[in-house]
């Protein structure tokens, strides 16, 4: 085989590897039901922060523990213990992905992804709403 062919094959192989890797996923996405049925494994659960319940973060007791309730996409509500400090703007988050496992009746999350409303969202409506008299 010629050098150029070898190089070509390596190049294509790397490109394929890159593509497969980019498309593959790091963990199983699931709902609380699956996660609680199988407490041995780590699951990724996405859902919404339940604002009915209080978010508890008491750094004096523990700097790395945030407790809150989350509703998964099927509407199942569970208590979550996140082993991290409470992220900035947590209460404003739109949706969450938590990564961890079930422990008894609680989901213990090692990591969390948070989606916040866009910081750059234009706030034109401020002007539309803000106390301007309508005649």
């Amino acid at each position: 085989m010629k050098k150029s062919q070898i190089i070509g094959i390596i190049f294509i192989a790397v490109c394929l590897g890159v593509l497969v890797n980019a498309l593959s996923d790091p963990g199983k996405m699931a709902g609380f039901r699956e996660a609680f049925a199988d407490p041995e494994h780590t699951y990724r659960v996405s859902g919404l922060l339940d604002k009915e319940h209080e978010v508890i973060y008491d750094p004096i007791t523990n700097t790395s523990l945030t407790e809150f309730h989350m509703k998964d996409q099927k509407g199942v509500l569970k208590k979550v213990k996140l082993k991290k400090s409470k992220p900035q703007g947590f209460e404003m988050s739109e949706s969450l992905v938590i990564i961890g496992h079930a422990e008894g009746d609680i989901f213990v999350a090692e990591e969390m992804l948070m989606k916040c409303p866009s910081k750059y969202n234009e706030e034109n409506h401020i002007i539309q709403e803000a106390g301007i008299p309508v005649e």
Partner: protein, 938 residues
């Protein structure tokens, strides 16, 4: 029913609009003229083209000046001013306001094209007309992004010169009916303002530098297209080369300026986070780097013609693609920088289609091929636009592009007759360029995951069945259209996994290729030449590993190899610089640049892989027993005025102060001094009290130290207990420095912590506040300043926690001598013996009383700890549970001030910053040499 509004400076908007229109028309005229010149060869067209481009330049500068005037004077009737400026903002950030918005950044980009165009026009050559035609057409497109014209639903460009009341969403709102709305409503007297995060000096120079870098990619692309146009496939390279490397230098510096800003102002813990925005400026840079090197091969060896043309065009295409990614909203929330659709993604897609289809068509060499491809592009575009089947149209077009490109490459580009020699410079330069391309592709594909997701839409059915039959998890998510989100550590790990080997190959090739010759190199002398630097690099790698105590085990191997690669790239190029180039400025540029690049990679690899979170919670070692969830892996909890050990220093939270929008937390750092224990000192450890038998300096090992020098005190007296402190081998030494990490109060964008960093020559201590109390939400306090009691149920041996203290219930005893305690003789009283452990290592005692008077009247006597601002109350006995209720009240100031902080050590990060300067200087040297040689040559 025209209203003549009061207080508006409508002339400015009109002027700005007119300038934009004029600049577009002039750019269009310039395009046409330069095109005609190249087509017909008539020189007067050139004169007209140049004149038009100058007119365009004038108009563009005019538009920019108008926007500046508007921003400077804070004319809030203008949407752009209202959104990006406010009254409170220091005027020195006016530049940041200018390019905070999409419109300003497009203007900036266009501005640099214009500057480059004027320089390109200065030199008379056959390349002037075709190159300027390309630059001008790009200016027409960029100008149209600033038009702000609405035709029905169609919306071309966003104008920065629009009045607030002219915005489509505001038209017809009640307030627009007031002629004096500007003075009537307070909303118009101050703007929304610049995001305070951008109020940083890096943000005044980083965006213009990056955009200059982006703009400079147009030059190699324009020359490549011009070469194809003229059928001169090699000659375009010589004039394009210095511009290409100028672009490499500027974009490289600009990207790391962004890193410096992130390191200084953001708290994601480092200078690089593989964020889509960072990536989308890095990818064009890597491609430009590859392009420059393949162009060098072609210049010297007339090889790799197609690659040189393709890469020169590709870096420009990637710049446009980057802007598409960051401006179209397609990235959504995959980024810490959040992006919204500016409403122009359609327009941007069209431009991208043009700037991909036009040069790729040019690459197809033969007229019939070019025309067929462009026709195919136009047809699929029209079908896609009008049938609504956009994705299908896009796929057909991509397929056509791919097939026709391959076919024309096979057909029109000459096959290299012989293989490149393994021992030649060109071979390894090509390999390095190829690896750069792979690296860029990996980053680009990963960043483009949301785009791939959209692209896969029409094939979800097929992909789904494929996924089922082969049981492929990745395909399944692609079929469902739901790429799962990755956490930041996962993302960083994924990039690092790929980029580490790429970087390794690049550094190795950088090291040994400098000594290779073009064509062929005699192997033995070459081996002799690289021996010295190879050996040196080995030694340096060994020292690096021993410095960081790195063993050669599995998880370190790739990092150690990379360290070696970086060291070798540095030593080998240094060797070349002094031994071969002998400091000759004319040929030193490239080796200096390579040394710099090696340093950048070394600094990045070492500082990130060997970074160390030193902020483990050292406040209370036995606190984990309290709560099973307690894990203080990363963050330190600090109460005001307490001094704790953290890494190699003591740290003390001294003061919190508010300055404008920032809350600063002043942290003092003290050195470590070995603690000397004197005879008779007491320590509290392992559940007992120990007494020092012999004066000694504390060793590092607590157990050994205790066995050697301490004896247990049996049945310690109260006095002894109160004297005992936790064992600690160190005591705070002299104050070394203070840091003030802060939290920026940012009601509009959310509060943001900003780090503060102590720089040493060999490491940085980077700290940021994870949690701090911002509000002074006042709670009721009693006459002595105590907050309300909090109740705790305790059994003997249980621990409660209040504020900074732990209280352990040791025992309950009945008071034998009530009168001595100031009670009545027949009172029955119980003392709760509480051992109070404070973070400053001291142990004290609290003894609140529970009193039964005449078997019915129950009272308690709280125990107030002197000077501590805390009192304990014993107010209930619950016999059935075997527990008692202890209530604790703290003074307000005790509970007020504490913070949770994270501290990371980044070792050797200065190598990175020095490296970028060295690299920039080296590249500049090479660029100057090339420009000089050219002006001598012509």
């Amino acid at each position: 029913m025209d209203i003549s509004y009061i207080g508006e400076h409508s002339w400015a908007g009109f002027l700005g609009h007119s300038f934009i229109l004029l600049s577009m028309v002039a750019a269009a005229l310039a395009t046409f003229s330069f095109f005609k010149r190249e087509h017909s060869g008539d020189e007067p067209w050139n004169t007209l083209g140049k004149a038009s481009f100058r007119l365009h330049s004038f108009a563009l500068i005019g538009a920019i000046s108008v926007l500046f005037v508007m921003l400077y004077n804070a004319w809030y009737e203008y949407d752009y001013v209202w959104k990006h400026r406010n009254n409170a903002m220091p005027i020195r950030y006016i530049l940041s306001c200018f390019w905070e918005g999409h419109e300003g950044s497009f203007m900036l980009w266009s501005f640099w094209h214009m500057i480059l165009g004027n320089f390109l026009m200065r030199k008379k050559s056959e390349w002037l007309a075709p190159v300027m035609a390309f630059v001008s057409v790009a200016q027409v497109f960029l100008g149209s992004m600033l038009l702000g014209v609405y035709i029905g639903d169609l919306h071309i460009g966003n104008s920065p010169f629009l009045l607030l009341r002219e915005l489509p969403e505001n038209i017809g709102l009640p307030w627009t009916g007031y002629a004096d709305y500007l003075s009537r409503f307070p909303q118009f007297m101050d703007g929304r303002g610049l995001n305070p995060l951008l109020q940083n000096y890096w943000m005044t120079i980083h965006p213009p530098t990056v955009f200059f870098g982006f703009a400079s990619t147009i030059v190699p692309a324009a020359f490549a297209v011009a070469g194809l146009w003229k059928g001169k496939y090699h000659e375009w390279i010589k004039p394009a080369l210095p511009w290409t490397f100028l672009g490499i230098m500027i974009l490289g510096v600009g990207i790391l300026m962004g890193g410096a800003w992130a390191y200084e102002a953001l708290s994601f813990g480092g200078f690089w986070a593989w964020d889509p925005v960072e990536n989308s400026s890095l990818v064009p840079w890597i491609v430009l780097l590859a392009a420059g090197h393949v162009m060098l091969i072609n210049r010297n060896k007339a090889r790799s013609t197609y690659s040189a043309l393709l890469l020169a065009i590709a870096s420009f295409v990637f710049v446009i693609y980057s802007n598409f990614l960051t401006n179209s909203g397609v990235l959504g929330d995959t980024s810490v920088h959040a992006f919204t659709d500016n409403g122009l993604s359609g327009q941007l897609s069209l431009y991208m289609a043009f700037f991909i289809a036009f040069p790729l068509g040019m690459l197809m060499v033969e007229k019939s091929f070019r025309r067929a491809y462009w026709a195919a592009t136009a047809v699929t575009l029209l079908i896609a636009l009008f049938s609504g089947q956009r994705m299908i149209g896009l796929h057909i077009w991509l397929m056509a592009t791919f097939i026709m490109s391959i076919y024309s490459y096979k057909k029109f580009y000459p096959k290299e007759k012989e293989e490149e020699n393994l021992w030649s410079r060109e071979f390894w330069m090509f390999i390095a360029s190829l690896v750069l391309v792979m690296s860029a592709l990996q980053i680009s594909v990963m960043t483009s995951r949301p785009v791939i997701n959209i692209l896969a839409t029409p094939f979800r059915g097929i992909i789904g069945s494929l996924a089922e039959s082969f049981d492929l998890e990745g395909l399944r998510t692609l079929a469902s259209g739901q790429m799962s989100d990755k956490t930041q550590p996962e993302i960083i790990a994924m990039y690092n996994k790929w980029q580490t080997p790429f970087a390794l190959v690049i550094t190795l090739v950088m090291a040994f290729t400098q000594f290779l010759r073009w064509n062929d190199t005699p192997v033995k002398p070459w081996l002799k030449q690289i021996r010295l630097s190879f050996g040196l690099a080995l030694i340096l790698t060994f020292f690096t590993c021993s410095y960081f105590k790195l063993g050669l085990d599995g998880k370190n191997v790739s990092m150690i190899l990379l360290f070696f690669g970086c060291w070798w790239a540095i030593t080998s190029n240094l060797d070349y610089l002094f031994r071969i180039a002998k400091g000759n400025v004319k040929i030193s540029g490239s080796s200096i640049a390579h040394i710099g690049f090696g340093m950048v990679l070394l600094g990045a690899a070492v500082s990130t892989s060997q970074s160390q979170k030193i902020s483990q919670n050292s406040s209370m070692t036995d606190i984990t027993k309290l709560n099973q969830d307690f894990s203080n892996k990363q963050d330190i909890l600090l109460f005001k005025k307490d001094t704790l050990i953290m890494g190699d220093q003591f740290i003390s939270f001294q003061e919190k102060r508010k300055d404008d929008i920032n809350i600063y937390f002043r942290m003092d750092y003290f050195g470590l001094e070995p603690r000397t224990y004197k005879v008779g000192e007491y320590i509290y450890s392992l559940g007992g009290i120990y007494r020092c038998k012999e004066q000694h300096k504390a060793g590092k090992d607590m157990i050994k130290d205790m066995q050697a020098y301490f004896e247990e005190v049996n049945d310690p007296s109260q006095e002894v207990v109160s004297k005992a402190a936790l064992w600690n081998p160190y005591s705070p030494g002299e104050k070394m420095f203070s840091l003030e990490p802060r939290i920026q109060l940012n009601p509009k964008f959310g509060n943001v912590p900003e780090p503060d960093t102590k720089h040493y020559w060999n490491k940085d201590i980077y700290t940021h506040v994870r949690y701090g109390q911002l509000d002074d939400g006042s709670q009721p306090v009693d006459a002595d300043g105590y907050l309300p009691f909090k109740e705790h149920k305790l059994g003997i041996g249980d621990t409660l926690r209040s504020g900074a203290r732990l209280a352990i219930l040791d025992s309950l005893t009945s008071v034998k001598d009530p009168v001595g305690e100031g009670l009545a003789a027949n009172d029955l009283a119980v003392t709760a013996w509480l051992r109070i452990v404070s973070p400053n290592d001291s142990v004290r005692q609290a003894k609140p009383l529970f009193i039964l008077r005449e078997a019915s009247y129950i009272a308690s006597r709280p125990y107030e700890m002197e000077g501590q601002g805390v009192k304990f109350d014993f107010n209930e006995i619950i016999p059935e549970e075997g527990k008692v209720t202890i209530r604790v009240a703290e003074k307000e100031e005790n509970l007020r001030d504490f913070i949770v902080m994270q501290a990371i050590i980044f070792p050797w990060i200065n190598i990175l910053w020095t490296g970028i300067i060295v690299m920039a200087l080296g590249t500049l040297l090479a660029v100057i040499q090339r420009f000089r040689r050219q002006s001598i040559g012509s």
